[in-house]
Each structure stands twice: as C-alpha cells, then as structure tokens.
Amino acid sequence: MHHSIELEDVHLRFGHSSVLDGVTILASPCELVAVVGANGAGKTTLLKIANGTIHADQGRVKVLGYDLSREDDCHSARKEIGLVPQRTISHRFPISVEEAVLMGRYGKIGLMRRPGKSDHDKARESMDAMGISALANKPVHELSGGQQQKVALARALAQEASILLLDEPTTYLDADSSSEIMETIHTMHHQRKLTTLLVSHDPRWMDPYCDKIYLLKDGKSSLIRG
C-alpha cells in the first residue's frame, strides 16, 4: 500500500544511548496519525526525522516518495511539509502575525524574490481560516500559547503543504484551548485533505480525532489503535 509517510525500522543513537530502536510509523494519504509517549521517549526526534532535520542511522524514511536520507530530497520535501513546532516565541522579536504566516510562502517563492499579491492573499486566507485575522498586526511574542499555535497552523496552511507535522499541539494549553486546537487541526486536516502526523505525551486529546495511534516506549513503537 502507498503511504505518504513511511518510517520503517528506524534506528537512531545519540552517543552511547539508543533513542529509536526499530521504530515503524506509517501514515496513508489523508490519515491523521498520532504518536503518544512519555516525555523523553523520542517523539520530537521522530518528527525531526520525518522532516529531514535529523537523519536516521538506519532504516527507511520516505515522505511523499522523497528519500529523506538524501539532502536534495529533504530540501524538496520540506516545501511540502508544514511543521508546527512545540515551543512558543517569548523573546521580543519584531514580527507581526501576518508576517509570520507569510513565511509559509517563502520556500515556494524562491531565493531573493519578494512575496507577491497572491502570496499575501494566501496568507490572509490562511489567517481567516484559523480565525486570527483580527490579530494580523499584533506582534507574535504578545500572543498566548494557543494563539501562537494557530499562527503556526496558519503558516502551514499558507505553505499549501500536503503533510502536516505537529509537535505537542496541546502543551501549555488549558482544557478548553486544547479542545479548540484539536478541533481546528481536525477540521483543517479534513478540509485540506492533509496527511497529519502529530506527537503528544497526552493521549486524552488524540483518541476522538485520530485514525491511528502509535505508542512510543523504550525506543520501540507499537500500534495501539487503527
């Protein structure tokens, strides 16, 4: 069967410690897949491997048919992958929400070229979809954790990515905000027909929304639902 994300028998060591020891995660087109596990289980590392930021020591890593063991393929694949990192921006960097969302277009625009009208339209459309248009001119560092997650999601939308990778989307959020963010991700996933892989230490929010759930423990993966 054809998969959009194929991580098969992935091994990775940091120094003497084994982080991933034969992990397999498969996501078919338009599937919403979660990887759950305790803090330090290697979930973020796994996401970085799926984004080509870290290379596995061993195993097969393919995203949209791109072989991520090759640097050229990584560069091409990243333009199709929307990444929503875990952390929020707290330092005072002068950038507005609209500018941060527009960044999703940068890889597609090409080097040394300025964003055109269509890029700005796409950014505004993405902010509308995430319900953050009213915040367009606000500095990102002044937003709450939930609002910053929506900015990152809007950036992934503007990127017109077909793969969405999310790192702990509900961390730092209260119950209401977590539920709202998961609803937003679910809607975005279905409307845009995305393949979504998210990692979380909190399985509570994954169950109602995900097609498949993997557990990552002691460097090994097991399919617990789907």
Binding site: N51, T53, H75, R78, K79, I81, G82, L83, P85, I89, R92, F93, P94, I95, S96, E99, A100, M103, G104, R105, Y106, G107, K108, I109, L111, M112, R114, P115, P139, R155, Q159
Partner: protein, 277 residues
C-alpha cells in the same frame, strides 16, 4: 583650522567615508548578533585577530593583514564546524577564544615578540585609516547591504526561528553560514577602525537602540543604520571639536541615542496602557 579645511586632508576623507559606510552597514550585523545571540563570536574574533597579529609579527608579515585573514578564515569554518560537532556556536567560540590566546602567548614567549606591539592590533584608530583600510570598509559594507537587501525575507525567517526557516524550505544552513562569515569580517574590519574593545559602538549599540523603537524588522534595520550614521558622524564631530578620542565620543553619542529610545519606549508603553484603560 576649521572642519571644512580638515576635509582637504586624505586622512580626514578616509575617516569620514569609513564612518558613513560603517555607520550605515555595520549596525545591520548588530541586529544579527542580538537576534541569534552571537555575542561570544565577537570575543572569539578579537582573540583570533590577536593570534593573526602574533603570527604576522613572528613571520614579519603585516600583522593587521594576517589578523584579518585569520578572522575571515575562522568565521568561514565556525558555522559548519559547530553544526558537525553539535557544539553550539557560543561554546565553540569560547573554545576558540582560549585556544587562540594560548597559542598567541606561546608565540610571544618563544619568538620574543613585544606584547604591546602585538596587542596594538586590538586598538583601532579612525583617523589613521589607510586607503587600503577604506577599500576594505567599502567592500564589507557593500557585502552587508547586499546580503540584507537581497535576502531580506530569508534573513527575517532565520532571525525569527531557524527551525521555521528550515521547515518552510529555505536553505537555512547555507544562509546562516554566510551570515556568520560576513559577521566575522565585520568584526575584523571594525577592530581596525575603532579597536576591539569598542566594536560595540558601531555594531551593537545602534542595533540595541533600534530594537527599542521598531515595530517590524524593516524598521529595525532602518533605525540601526540611521542611529549608526548619527553616532558615527556625531562622535567624529565631537572628537574633532573637543579634541577627544573618537571611539569614546562615538560610544557616548550611541549611548545617548539608546537613552532617548528607552524614554520613547516607556512613553509608548505608558500611552498604550492608558488607552487600554
């Protein structure tokens, strides 16, 4: 002698040209230093230049030229080495700083080099710039301006979040290495102009002031250049009129600008709070 008459002298023409160009271009690198937390790199470059100077004196080659060459070469390899070894740029800079200092002192001792002569590479002087120095300032300034104008959106993404820049498909590593390389060159040339200990006058202080009053990155770059130009020219003017050391007067003007920006920022926050009530 009036200031206009002074301009007839080549040393004065060199100084004014260097101050105008460095005032506009060098603070742009200060924005990089602040946003990417590269302050240790600045200290490492000072010590690398010192080693270059020591080698120059040992080999009887121009110590300033070798200082520049060492800075250029080390800034070219620092970025890739820090990525390969997974040592942060700050840690690697600290390592490089102490190692180069140790080697420099061995050279001083074994080759019987006069230490004050070697350390003179760290004291710059705007009023003693040669034509070759000015050509270097022009070259580095154009490199900085070209980088910022042509790659503004890429730089914006890297300064905001390197991981985001990489994830949207930008060649983040190559651009980051280029930024570190040009930063190394800027620090080396600044040392020749105003001395290693006062580099902040041109590179950091205008960027700090601009960060206080700007709402977006374009404004940060614009105000950094404007404040750099004002403090450079203002400092040079005060130094000539009151017969004071130029580097010190430039720093005084730059510090005064920062003070004004702090007041402006506090006033803006006060008004914003009042309006929200």
């Amino acid at each position: 002698m009036s200031l206009v008459q002074l301009l007839a002298y080549p040393f004065m023409q060199h100084a004014v040209l260097a101050v105008v160009l460095a005032g506009i271009a060098f603070p742009l690198m200060g924005v990089f230093i602040l946003s990417l937390n590269l302050i240790p790199l600045r200290f490492a470059m000072m010590h690398v230049a010192l080693l270059g100077g020591a080698v120059g004196l040992f080999l009887r080659v121009d110590p300033l030229f070798l200082g520049l060459l060492f800075c250029a070469a080390s800034s070219l390899v620092l970025g890739p080495v820090s990525e390969k070894t997974k040592m942060g740029l700050g840690t690697l800079s600290g390592y490089m700083m102490t190692l180069t200092l140790a080697i420099a002192f061995i050279l001083f001792y074994k080759a019987n080099i006069h230490v004050v002569q070697a350390f003179s590479i760290l004291w710059g002087s705007i009023l003693s710039l040669t034509l070759w120095d000015v050509v270097l300032v022009i070259f580095v300034s154009l490199l900085i301006l070209g980088l910022v104008v042509l790659f503004f959106k890429e730089i914006q993404a890297i300064l905001y979040d390197r991981e985001v820049a990489l994830s949207v498909g930008l060649p983040e590593k190559k651009l980051y290495y280029a930024m570190v390389f040009i930063l190394g060159l800027t620090i080396a040339v600044s040392m020749r102009m105003i001395g290693a200990l006062l580099i902040d006058a041109f590179v950091l202080l205008p960027a700090i002031a601009a960060n206080l009053v700007s709402r977006n990155l374009k404004q940060v770059f614009f105000f950094s250049s404007a404040f750099g130009l004002i403090s450079g020219m203002g400092g040079l003017y005060l130094a000539l009129v009151f017969d004071l050391p130029t580097s010190s007067t430039i720093i005084l003007v730059a510090s005064l600008i920062i003070g004004c920006c702090i007041l402006y920022q506090r006033r803006r926050v006060f008004h914003a709070k009042a309006a929200s009530k």
